[in-house]
């Protein structure tokens, strides 16, 4: 069954004819690919941990900033000892990484709560926002890209291009404020801040979607234009297939390959980059937590937020690679 792995059009040719083996070469290639990407992912995560640790130390003497501006030299020394900042850097580093491996990121200096708890509480908000944003982005940009490609060089195509350019140029905080004024205040159809109901995620979702829509639309458009001009589409037409089948099966399947992988990476950007949007809409997600902690020198939280976002990013990149291999048989079969 390995050969049919990921072939969306269920194709059930009996395995006996495929050489009889239950595990086809496709599955092995896939497993090797996943293993390699995972190993790279672990290395990247470790690098990020190192950087996050070192950069927080580079931002100044942590003991001084924790103790506050009115603290005396003696206070600072007490703080330094209490927080273990008097130990050599490598001891601090391995103590932190060792605990981080088992999910213990220490205590927040500011929130009087464990860092793990803080992130656990905030993560669902950021994830919800990211998924809403990405779904909206895909729902808008893929049909728009297909439409533009099929009407290449017409006013429709040009309008779509203009839309993506404007979308790219508009800062998300500005778009957020405009939406708040129009949808929230003038029309009064959506709440303008907070996280109480699903409606609270609509406006931030739209704004976040706009960070990905231009790239995804253009990618869909160029992929579809390339696919529609290809020899295999000419073959599909020569076969007398319906226009819908030619566009949505034969062309889109090939055009979707880069779109899917970019979308996964975009979700990573969205999770990490939603700080502005979370702030504007008072969504207390991970991005906002990171921002607060940087401002307050709550460095265990900063380190953990950076690491968690990086791990998500690595995971999504891995997911993109796997999806790519599933969509493109050339990547998974010898």
């Amino acid at each position: 069954m390995g050969r049919q792995f990921g072939d969306t059009v269920a194709f059930a040719w009996p395995a006996r004819e495929c050489g009889g083996a239950l595990v086809g070469p496709g599955v092995l290639v896939m497993l090797r690919l996943i293993a390699r990407r995972l190993a790279i992912g672990v290395l990247v995560a470790f690098t990020v941990m190192t950087l996050a640790f070192l950069l927080t130390r580079l931002s100044g003497d942590l003991a001084i900033s924790i103790a506050g501006p009115s603290a005396t030299q003696a206070d600072v020394e007490i703080v330094r000892k209490a927080y273990g900042l008097d130990r050599p850097l490598y001891v601090q580093f391995f103590a932190w990484t060792g605990r981080a491996m088992v999910g213990d990121f220490g205590q927040s200096y500011f929130f009087k709560d464990s860092v793990a708890n803080l992130i656990q509480k905030r993560l669902p908000i950021t994830l919800t926002l990211g998924l809403v944003g990405l779904s909206l982005a895909l729902v808008i940009s893929i049909p728009l890209g297909i439409l533009a490609a099929l009407r290449e060089n017409t006013w429709i195509d040009r309008s779509v291009t203009l839309f993506t350019m404007v979308g790219q140029a508009v800062p998300s905080f500005w778009l957020a404020l405009i939406l708040m004024i129009v949808l929230g205040l003038q029309l009064g159809v959506l709440p303008i801040s907070g996280t109480g109901t699903w409606q609270h995620f609509v406006m931030p979702g739209i704004v976040l979607a706009f960070t990905a829509i231009p790239a995804l639309t253009r990618l869909t458009r160029s992929g579809m234009i390339e696919a529609m001009a290809s020899d295999y589409i000419r073959t599909a037409r020569a076969k007398g297939l319906s226009r819908a089948r030619i566009i949505f099966k034969h062309a889109l399947r090939n055009a979707a390959i880069p779109v899917v992988s970019i979308a996964a990476v975009q979700l990573g950007f969205m999770l990490g980059g939603s700080i502005v949007i979370e702030t504007v809409f008072a969504l207390h997600g991970v991005g906002y937590l990171g921002w607060e902690s940087i401002a307050k020198n709550d460095f265990p939280v900063v380190q953990a937020v950076v690491l968690v976002l990086a791990v998500f990013y690595i995971g999504l990149t891995l997911l993109a690679d796997i999806l790519n291999a599933l969509l493109d048989p050339r990547l998974r079969t010898g």
Binding site: F11, A12, Y232, R237, G240, L241, D328, P329, T333
Partner: protein
């Protein structure tokens, strides 16, 4: 014999200006192999695509008459035309490496032709696909069905294309330079295969090629194209025996024939290149390269009969053979 495909005065323009085909006329009889032959850019592929309604965007075709098995192709809607394509008229292309969709299995791509036109289950369509793959000389068809195009060689892919074209048992197979991208031994195999299939399936084949060697081997009738026109039509034997159009003669003199090529005599060649034909062009398109051209060649050129099913487009009478170059 009645004509399966009749094309009269086919015109194809791109963007309303460039004339790719300028009044091409030919007939493909039932059960015969008809060759469209000519050099690159003469409009032979465009002619085939126009018959199939597969012209690229911006391409516009018109014809005095274009009928397939009694159906007027010019009056069909896109939808009706799609119902014919792949079903009663099929086409294979020059580039077997890129003509199959890289994302789907061979079996899936073959099966959808049958289910689209004839309905029926996917399993039945896959059985048919496996049977046809066997018929076109693909070993282990069951295994091939589950493979993807990139796992197959060029020759195999062209065989898959041929088998796919036969899924619905078409009456006409249009083959656009099907062997050009293949190496010589595979070329010979594919040509032999096409000849066999023609017999077995009662196919009519419209074969497009620039290779006179292929024409001599497989064609029953030949139409020689030059600059978007059919300049000479004849049976293959007649064309090679008594070519009439100066262009046809020029082409034939370019072919080295073992035993007839003399060591100190150069192989023939046609001077110059195919001219760009703009709007308002009149007369013979070959005149700039023709040794026999005179001022009458700038006027309308008559189509002259030169025997049974043989005619050509030239001011010169059939007995011009003894004429010395002007």
């Amino acid at each position: 014999m009645s004509a399966l495909l009749e094309v009269e005065e086919l015109q194809v323009t791109f963007g309303g200006r460039t004339a790719a085909v300028r009044g091409a006329s030919f007939r493909v009889e039932k059960g015969e192999t008809h060759c469209l032959v000519g050099e690159s850019g003469c409009g032979k592929s465009v002619t085939a695509l126009a018959v199939m309604s597969l012209l690229a965007r911006g391409g516009h075709r018109s014809a005095k008459r274009m009928s397939f098995a009694g159906t007027d192709l010019t009056s069909l809607s896109d939808r009706e035309m799609a119902r014919l394509r792949g079903n009663r008229m099929a086409m294979i292309f020059q580039e077997p490496m890129t003509s199959l969709n890289p994302a789907f299995t061979i079996g899936s791509q073959m099966a959808e032709v049958l289910t689209r036109h004839k309905g029926g289950s996917r399993a039945a369509a896959l059985d048919r696909a496996a049977e046809l793959m066997g018929r076109v000389g693909i070993t282990a068809p069951g295994m091939r069905l589950g493979q993807f195009p990139h796992q197959l060689s060029g020759g195999l892919r062209q065989r898959v294309m041929i088998a796919m074209a036969l899924m619905c048992d078409p009456e006409l197979l249009i083959a656009d330079e099907p062997t050009t991208a293949l190496d010589v031994t595979v070329q010979a195999q594919i040509l032999r295969l096409l000849a066999n299939l023609k017999r077995e399936f009662g196919l009519s084949i419209l074969l497009i090629t620039h290779d006179l060697g292929i024409v001599a081997r497989v064609a029953d009738h030949v139409s020689v194209m030059y600059a978007g026109e059919v300049v000479e039509r004849a049976t293959t034997a007649e064309l090679f025996r008594a070519p009439q159009h100066p262009y046809t003669r020029g082409l034939l003199s370019c072919v080295p024939v073992p035993g007839r090529v003399q060591r100190d005599k150069p192989l023939g060649s046609i001077p110059g290149v195919v001219p760009a034909i703009g709007a308002g062009f009149a007369g013979c398109a070959f005149r700039s390269r023709c040794a026999h051209a005179d001022e009458t060649c700038t006027r309308a050129i008559p189509r002259r009969p030169a025997g049974d099913a043989h005619d050509y487009l030239c001011r010169l009478a059939p007995d011009w053979a003894e004429l010395q170059p002007a």
